[in-house]
Amino acid sequence: MTSKHVEQLDRVVIRFAGDSGDGMQLTGDRFTAESATLGNDLATFPDYPAEIRAPAGTIAGVSAFQVAISDHEISTPGDTPNVLVAMNPAGLKANMAVMERGSTLIVNVDAFDDRALAKAGYASNPLTDGALNHFTVYEVPMTSITQEACKEAGVKPRDAERSKNFFALGLVSWLYTRPTESTLAWIHAKFGGKPQVEDANTRAFRAGYDFGETAELFDARYEVRPSTFEAGDYVNVSGNTALSWGLIAAGQLSGLEIFLGSYPITPASDILHELSKRKEFGVRTFQAEDEIAGIGTAIGAAYGGSLGVTTTSGPGLALKGEALGLAVSLELPLVVVDIQRGGPSTGLPTKTEQADLLQAMYGRHGEAPLPIVAAQSPSDCFDAAIEASRIAIKYRTPVILLSDGYLGNGTEPWRLPDISTLAPIEPNFATEPNHTKDDGTQVFWPYLRDEETLARPWAPPGLAGLEHRIGGLEKADGSGNVSYDLANHEKMVHLRAAKIAGIAKDIAPLEVDDETGDAELLVIGWGSTYGSIAAGVQRTRARGGKVAQAHLRHVNPFPANLGEVLHRYKAVLVPEMNMGQLSKMIRAEYLVDAKAFTKVQGSPFRAVEMEAAIAEMLGAL
């Protein structure tokens, strides 16, 4: 029984920071899982370095995990942490810029020796030189207590030291009155095969929890009550997992086997990993020799009648460009997933960015339009993957599905859909000849289009009478034979464009959230900025400001009503984690003076930044 009193909080943001080898991602994940079972709403932001193990103790090697837990609905992992748990001086130093005065720092004081301070670039010890005067600092000897706790179990101090993250987890779990059973069970499941490690981690976790209880350091604990959720089953899901499951769902809904051709790249590899485990759904995964083979094999599989998928990040999408052009010309279903990261080139491989939009839109030679679908939150990746697959199959076209590192790695609670309510996707394979020649013979014309969708028939090999050849050379409208007729080429360019443009009739109109109905400013975005924009809009409204919000699921073609929506507002603001790519598209398409609000710092917009940008626009109206 706890003796310390418990204070209620409506929301708290905690950031765990330490060395890459300190297990911060795991610690954050577990804290998140505990909070999820408790029923909090939450959002996470894993933030890790590009190097697997940058030199220990340096700023470059700091790995952090931020989680916001709340008793009400939230859309971001929070601007600034209320609590920073720093396992070493570098973890403290790297994060002080985002900590506000008055916030709480829990530091592993054992790690603050002269060498570690020097490695982190501290000239003097911040714990003693007054640098942290405006913060509430808890100095906890995490390493030594962990070692002490593990001593009885016969664990050597060096090995015990590795369990200190579980001490931190135990302590923070105590501080925020988290349930411990699930973590203890998890430690057992994960480390059961290595009894000594399991024992050390369990002892460290308990020691952390007990430390909170018994040490005279903390005078209160905190509680964040469950949020109110609609009834249903929930999981805490990352974008990459949800996306993988969405692809599997699309396979089930269409009755097609899935083939994934992929070359590993951060932050997309987790989709390859997840799908590789799910062979019972008829999923074939293929680790290709490069990204070109990734898409090449997927095109081959699509020709054979599978749902061809290839997953990558920006540099890989660049390599796939030529094959994407082929897929546009072949008019075969294909889903191309780009989990965007900071560029150009290797750029910021573990940080998020939205700078591949124009590459997705125009990164091919020739007139090669294709649909682009964007996910807006981790759980939304599920629906986005189904939608991308639906369009690809129905319109026989490659579709680019854009997510990013923030969505891919971030998590949120997701109310699981009722599978039976998901709409089936009809592959509609060709079954018979579709054209009668002048001499009366029945033949198959691979480019005879459906009048409504302009989609061509999909005829995988195996049916007699439907033998046909397709390729990247221009094809005669209808017969699909090679044609160098210039008027035919122009017709085909227009037909391919019209097919993609026509998808606008088949997607939901853009919805606008305009509370009062008389806002003069519209904030419109796409992709992972959704949560930040929503938070900024809420803050604006809380102060009496009037602002409307809309978010694009379909970036190409745009929803049919987008022009009308844009023209309804006096001003349009487009926040993007790039240099203004969507705003360029909107300005070009609709001749509206859309203003870009951009950020390319490898992390999402903060709600305050968003609020300030909105306020500035409102002020200028």
């Binding site: 999981v235 769902a249 070109i292 081959g300 699981l416 050849r469």
Partner: protein, 339 residues
């Protein structure tokens, strides 16, 4: 088991209605004829046959076959065909490409297909030149070759495609040439019968940009002395009346000898099925170009797990272990219920 009759077909059934557009006299014509005439004998159906190609003169091949087919992009045919063959083990998938398509831009996909042993029959038409782009040197062109892009002679050392394929541990490697229909057909038949990736280099004359490149060895009068026709289990002999042969030196390397001087017992017997590729590799090194006695026929034909079948086995195994259940999958990493 019910056996389904394969309908009798003729060359005409396997020929598409598209006009063949290679230059008159091009060696590609005779390869196409050999394939179209062979198909009725293979016991396969047109609807289950697919020709996949990249880009180049050779790569126009699929348009002329009345089967399923794809003329894709430069160098990528092996990758595309890999995706098709691994998902559709019921299909007979052929890959056709030129020396540039297969070894230059597509070299990476080729070696990876070979090591994986995907069920593909790869025919590489080697004319030692870039035909379609009008005559630049290729990765198989001889050193010092004068072309439009090498007016002072090329500096590149050429690939020996057979050596390359054996080096990549291809399970079936053969060579034939466009002047001998019977030899082509026998080689293609063998390639087709092989389970896994079969790689066939076909010497092909580009009479416009590299005419007579192989004449020194493939012309009727030259064949006897210049082609070493490999036959499994037999001593490797060539020349009129088999007066020359291949023998192995004490250090393991090979040399061409006069049989009369060393005796028939000293002549190496060809063994296609040797697991160790070293000897097949050594045979491929006997000639570094079509100016010296050059081995043709099947260099290597060994069994190894076929990739698509192995993948299918994994999928089938997983299906047998676990019924696909999407609702369960979504809950597989723990969930909680809100009432």
């Amino acid at each position: 088991m019910t056996t389904v009759e394969i309908p009798l077909t003729t060359r005409k059934d396997w020929s598409s209605d598209q006009e063949v557009k290679w230059c008159p006299g091009c060696g590609d014509y005779s390869i196409l004829a050999a394939v179209q005439m062979l198909m009725p004998d293979l016991g396969v159906r047109r609807e289950n046959t697919v020709f996949v190609s990249g880009i180049g003169c050779a790569a126009r091949f699929p348009y002329y076959m009345n089967t399923y087919g794809m003329h894709s992009i430069h160098g990528r045919a092996a990758a595309i065909a890999t995706g098709l063959a691994t998902t559709r083990p019921d299909l007979d998938v052929w890959v056709v490409g030129g020396d540039g398509d297969s070894l230059s831009i597509g070299g990476n996909h080729l070696i990876h297909a070979l090591r994986r042993n995907v069920n593909l029959h790869i025919l590489m038409f080697n004319n030692q030149i870039y035909g379609l782009t009008k005559g630049q040197y290729s990765p198989t062109s001889e050193e010092g070759k004068i072309t439009k892009s090498t007016p002072f002679g090329s500096l590149d050392h050429p690939f020996n495609p057979v050596s390359l394929a054996i080096g990549a541990e291809a399970t079936f490697v053969a060579r034939t040439h466009d002047m001998d229909r019977a030899h082509m057909q026998e080689t293609f038949r063998r390639a087709h019968a092989h389970k896994g990736t079969s790689f066939v280099e076909v010497y092909q004359n580009c009479n416009v940009f590299n005419d007579a490149a192989f004449e020194g060895i493939t012309a009727k009068d030259n064949r006897a002395e210049m082609l070493i026709d490999l036959k499994h289990g037999e001593p490797i002999l060539f020349g009129v009346d088999g007066h020359r042969g291949v023998s192995q030196r004490a250090d393991g390397s090979l040399e061409i000898v006069e049989v009369a001087e060393v005796g028939l017992d000293a002549i190496l017997r060809h063994d296609e099925h040797r697991e160790d590729p070293a000897l097949a590799f050594a045979i491929s090194r006997l000639s570094s170009g079509p100016t010296m006695p050059t081995p043709v026929g099947v260099f290597r034909d060994v069994q190894r797990q076929e990739y698509g079948e192995a993948m299918t086995t994994q999928v089938e195994h997983a299906k047998a272990q676990k019924a696909p259940d999407l609702a369960k999958l979504l809950r597989s990493s723990g969930f909680w219920t809100v009432d």
